[in-house]
Symmetry: C3
Subunit: 320 residues, 3 copies
């Protein structure tokens, strides 16, 4: 009947679908997530000043998807905390990554081969999370494709989507950037997964669940490996995105016609209202920054991250 059923891939997909995420894959997810937190600028200082804030941030990195989908479905936000084993595992990981004697755990995990394996395992958990979110939403809102996509996306990419508030826990506030304004690769791939699984669950996509799980998992794993090995951050969807964007959103551009005038208006305002602007803080200017300056700001903070990572690596080398 189904082409995939005739191939030996069918058995593989059944095997994958029966794979248990606990404990190894979950563990890999915690390690990679907390290492990603540690590599954010300023986190090492926070881990010394307030271990509690650092722990809370780590839990948001690990369980952000569960928290966000709980908020969206009006289920208790503390529910993830009631999963004692998960929280315990994540807390031990947090402790070892941040405070291990000699910094052994972080330095070992940061070695490319091990990090590659862990990252690939983390990618596998994504399939389970997205599918879990979609089926949960399907059981509550039978026909609503949008709700299924939203919950699947939230479960799979929650940590990224609540980034602004996770940063606030650490005393950092960057309102000028969020995952909706500028999606990162994991957020994009999760959105695509949520759309695919939602279509599959509502029978618009004629595939069996375990087959789609195999296809999606292989795609994410291959992509992640390619990106880590080549060090490229180019999205595999860049061409499609660009085509869709040009077709749908660039037909008529009042923006092009406006740009000159708006910028002029902004400049006028800046020069005339400098006193006021100083009072209301530079935040007030966020709405007026042009996309160019925004990108500049972001590349600046990326640079900072790179430096922080280099510093970490140097540190590891010294210890070794």
């Amino acid at each position: 009947m189904d082409l995939l059923e005739l191939l030996p891939l069918d058995e593989l997909s059944h095997g994958l679908a029966n794979l248990s995420m606990f404990p190894y894959f979950d563990m890999a997810h915690y390690i990679v997530s907390i290492m990603a937190l540690r590599e954010q600028p300023g986190v090492l200082e926070v881990s010394r000043v307030s271990p509690l804030a650092c722990w809370f941030s780590s839990m948001l990195f690990c369980f952000g998807g569960a928290v966000l989908s709980a908020i969206m479905l009006a289920e208790p936000v503390v529910a993830p905390l009631s999963n004692s084993t998960g929280v315990l595992l994540a807390s031990i990981t947090w402790y070892l990554v941040f405070y291990c004697p000699m910094d052994l755990v972080y330095c070992c995990s940061a070695l490319l081969p091990l990090r590659l394996v862990l990252s690939v395992m983390k990618e596998v958990t994504r399939t389970w999370k997205v599918l879990g979110g979609v089926t949960l939403a399907h059981s509550k809102y039978k026909d609503s494709l949008l709700v299924m996509i939203a919950i699947g996306w939230a479960k799979g990419a929650g940590g990224g989507l609540i980034r602004n508030f996770e940063q606030l826990v650490r005393g950092v506030w960057k309102p000028e950037t969020n995952e909706l304004l500028k999606m990162s690769y994991p957020t994009k791939i999760t959105l695509i997964g949520a759309v695919l699984f939602a279509l599959q669950q509502t029978r618009y996509l004629p595939l069996q669940t375990h087959h789609l799980m195999l296809i999606y998992t292989v795609f994410t794993v291959v992509n992640k490996s390619r990106m880590m090995l080549t060090g490229s951050s180019s999205s595999p969807f860049a061409a499609i995105e660009s085509a869709v964007y040009k077709t749908l959103f660039a037909g008529h551009s009042p923006y092009d016609a406006l740009t000159g005038e708006v910028q002029k208006a902004c400049v006028d305002q800046r020069t005339t209202a400098t006193a006021g602007a100083k009072e209301i803080g530079e935040n007030g200017a966020a709405g007026k920054t042009t996309p160019v300056s925004r990108v500049k700001g972001q590349s600046g903070s990326l640079k900072a991250k790179d430096k922080s990572e280099n510093a970490d690596t140097t540190n590891c080398k010294k210890i070794n």
Copy 2:
């Protein structure tokens, strides 16, 4: 029995109460809301850089009341998304307002006669929303007038009340202003409506529901038309507000006695702690800004909005 029942107005009020909001009035609400979003400073840039953030902001403008009241009543926040027809209509409106070829939809809707009709229709939906919120709260919390007012207000003016977080989606953060600190006209009129309907539902106001609906709708429609036609933004409650304020909140003013000293303290602090202030960001200064400077800041941003609107209008003229 009732004076209103003897008048021909009774039939009119029955007719109004049986009016269906879907699809025409809902549509008008979406158009006016999304046009209001488009006229915010910086939104056109966002609509080019990230259509997704722009769409999400539009949905918050259209369904903000439903989202806020869902949060307050611990009901699923995604519920508005499950109303597929509504979201579809709002999304089509969003697309046409922002990306229509030749910008036809926005330019036509921005013409005064059409805009007046649409705005009046949007005002009519307010009555339904406030009443919906009040009766929903009444069914859950029988005797609590405060809860009924809060939910009615949230349903009717939700978009305004969650403005800070809607702006955050677009990368804008203006902590120094919110609807509680400085209420806009729609927020005020909705609050009054919520109070009236809550009093009516708990029988403190001896009126029938459809009569109050007629009275409130006529009042909001007349007021909105007057404000749009005369271009005045003076609130019809200014006199009452001022009287209440003077009676209740200005009897004794420790503030007047304090102002000098507080300002002196602020100045001292600013000059001595400049280094620290620079580190913690200009936000830290928000607490110290005097009301005067706050107003200055706001008028600054209003000026920006005006300019953006002018720019839009110029743009439309060019096309026409």
Copy 3:
């Protein structure tokens, strides 16, 4: 059986456990909370500019714990509003503290003996709140110690934990500080109470509820009195905290090794990316501030608070 049962303290503990918080202790809680709000910098201005925002902030100070625990357990956030008597009492208190003719209420309550009594009464309510939160969580999540601690903590110290968002109501935004990054004394003592009551409820701590209530209440009351009378803000746990910190979180410090490099990186970045930094606002720099500068900033704002309090006191003296 139990040592405490043989002592006359047993009767005392039973008497305390049967004490009703309503109305006197609740009233004391409202007065002390709203006075604490009034002594925040900038609040007097807000109370003149927008009584509504001031009232809303006061309610968050009074019912913050109930609101936060409602959010965490996915119960309606408006539920505290449905407690009409409580809200009415708190609102009357708010009005009297902020707008009483001659400022009599604030000036009287600010006198040390009365303030001491009120503060001690407020400390007593903490025991009831923490216990209420812990038992509520225990009834929903039988075995989860973490959830019980979280809800008990939220109920008892909610006002502090949601401080950032309470400030936002007043137009103040201080992302660089929160209760997780730098815990205040009330937050710490509540956390300890939540841990103790959670251990007691799950039978890990072999004590009866009313005995623990007595012990915890006496401890908080004595501590608060000592701190108010001596004017010291030294935590009674400083020694334990320091020991725990040194044992667990300072074993290996990649931070020490890093500090130089990170700071260098920060300086580099600041000098090279000044243009970008200006665009993204000083907030972007929050992540880069060293702990030292953060502390400096905070001591700056504390100084401001002191000055505001002095100003208030001066004002009271003038009136007297």
